[in-house]
Subunit: 189 residues, 2 copies
DNA sequence: CGACATATTGAGATCCATCAACCAATGTGG
DNA sequence: CCACATTGGTTGATGGATCTCAATATGTCG
């Protein structure tokens, strides 16, 4: 997986100048404040946000409970996949968890660019493949791991999550209650 | 989602003869008997199986328990996504649940074909997008639904599952125990 | 300081898994 | 074609993981 990200980055580095120029031309730098919503529920996700700095999350509300589906750090690509791909209303919100700086590309601009620069289709494919594998692994987690195991997993594999995010968000990302998470932490240390 | 499948099928219908011929040239019809393994754990998933008839499933074993991750019916595409994409050993098995007839395409043959027929890259992208959305929705299920809700969901949305598969498989697909599923069914009817 | 968000801890309830016994249908070898 | 094994499903008893509700503590910021 790590190496697949490298492969993607290599692919980007190897793009011709025209393709890169086309990408830059349709990109737009924006900033958001902590707490701002980059995408609201029922809105169509018509832009992709490449995180340049800061942290964001994607979440939805079910039975008055917030469930975090993805956390975004520097270099990540944020958007609601289903909404973006089908151009239908989003079930999810995207929220800035800190002040955030992003590079924005509009859906339609990117679709057009793919027509003119076929290498962007290949890039798109690689990115979606990467996301699919990530999704598969997350499903695998929910299929096999207990609350404690899920927590230990991010402690070892993604310690930056724990250092930079409130437990409320972590719990909602692991789909366990804040209380359970608190108890797990007490027992472990 | 339904309509996205239609869009994909339309795209295939609209392909030029050369592209279609190239696809057919690298396809191979094969049959498997009920119980046969189309892919074994630790094997690299080097072929995709387009199901022409019959039923198959993908599963892995965790703590001596089989967990079914996907069910394949006519027209579905069967392979272990991560293993196929990264060409690394598969965590999962693919098993024929009935006698099965498939059209097989080798990974490398398809990669080559994409080089020569760029429309296949677009097709590949659409298929992976479809799979990502499917994965997102499955994750959504596991995040939000109880055992009973998951069961009712397939009763209403995929009744053919219940008609054609033993409860053991259904339970393992919903990630609940066979006993729990049996009790849910008893309570409902 | 006061107010609001964040985290901890306790008690009780709930969902579901596990273990075990049992039943029904199917099929196979002698 | 019977006897018995195998597969698939049901039902009961029990326990564990985790949720919910509620009270309390800690932290942070205007």
């Amino acid at each position: 997986m790590q190496s697949y990200l490298e492969k993607i980055n290599q692919y980007i580095s190897g793009l011709d100048k025209e393709t890169i120029a086309a990408l830059e031309q349709i990109s737009d730098i924006k900033t958001y404040k902590k707490g701002d919503l980059l995408l609201k529920q029922n809105e169509v996700s018509s832009k992709s946000y490449h995180i340049l700095s800061g942290i964001a999350r994607k979440f939805f509300i079910h039975n008055d409970k917030e469930i975090t589906t993805e956390l975004y750090f520097e270099q990540d690509l944020a958007f609601s996949f289903e909404s973006y791909t089908l151009q239908t209303p989003s079930k999810e919100y995207i929220e800035a968890l800190t002040d955030v700086k992003v590079s924005v590309i509009h859906y339609h601009a990117f679709q057009d660019a793919k027509q003119k620069f076929p290498k962007l289709t290949t890039l798109d494919l690689m990115l979606v493949e990467y996301y699919s594998i990530w999704l598969e692994n997350r499903l695998f987690q929910f299929h096999t791991q207990s609350a404690t195991e899920k927590y230990l997993d991010i402690v070892t594999k993604s310690p930056h999550l724990i250092q930079q995010l409130p437990l409320t968000i972590i719990a909602s990302y692991l789909n366990i209650s804040l209380e359970t998470l608190s108890r797990i932490r007490a027992k472990i240390s």
